[in-house]
């Protein structure tokens, strides 16, 4: 675990210890990077925001890039998605089991919503390659 701790619990700086870290699924497979964090305000008034999810993908990264590059980045990502209101890939933070040089999650890759680009590539490009439907034969 990076960062330190005090009497309340583990303490870490989000930008230093979480952003851009590799996410590893329960089998140790790479499941993208931490591009942003979702913060949710608690029900009680005056409470501090709680980290509720890891956000991934171009739609999350584009906002961090900012400026014209960020706008262009998000526009391209939206163009590649068929949904009316595309959102970043989201990994609930309660799945996080450890944070060291990587962020470890308790779910497998197939349970995480992190392979959208690969799926888009498969559905729009690979499927059109002659012989792609019989790759195993």
């Amino acid at each position: 675990m990076t960062g330190g701790s005090d009497s309340r619990g583990r303490v870490l700086d989000a930008g230093l210890s979480l952003l851009d870290r590799q996410v590893l699924d329960r089998h140790g497979l790479c499941a993208g990077k931490v591009d942003d964090l979702e913060l949710t305000m608690p029900d009680e008034a005056g409470g501090a925001p709680i980290v509720t999810a890891i956000l991934q993908g171009p739609l999350a990264l584009g906002r961090r890039l900012g400026g014209r590059l960020g706008v262009w980045w998000i526009a391209v990502a939206r163009r590649l998605r068929n949904e009316a209101d595309p959102r970043p890939c989201r990994i609930p933070f309660e799945l996080v089991t450890d944070i060291d040089t990587a962020v470890h999650v308790s779910a497998g890759m197939d349970e995480l919503d992190v392979l959208r680009l690969e799926h888009w590539w498969r559905d729009h490009v690979i499927v059109k390659v002659p012989g792609s439907g019989h790759a195993a034969e």
Binding site: V11, L16, L39, P42, P49, R64
Partner: protein, 105 residues
Amino acid sequence: MRLSDLLEADVVDEGGRSLGRVHDVRLVQDGPAPAGRDPSFRVLGLLLGNASIGRRLGYHRGTQRAPWLLRTALGRGRVEYLPWERVRRVEQGRIVAAGPAEELP
């Protein structure tokens, strides 16, 4: 709200005086615990100061092990800590805080 809404935001007091810019957000793991899980991380406070390579690498904390010359060069600069309790509201690119920022312990 996203973490990126806080990072690089200008922090001002209620009189409009600048307190700095958010270069990191400190979290503590003492939030609500989902069933059978560890407690959630909640925002503890904001680290204010100008962006620099040394801060990006964590040298502002003074806990990095490195040759003194590197530690001195990269650890320079003032970092201030603003507890979340002092945050009054978060606007686009701007955070309004009550009272003056405190220096990091």
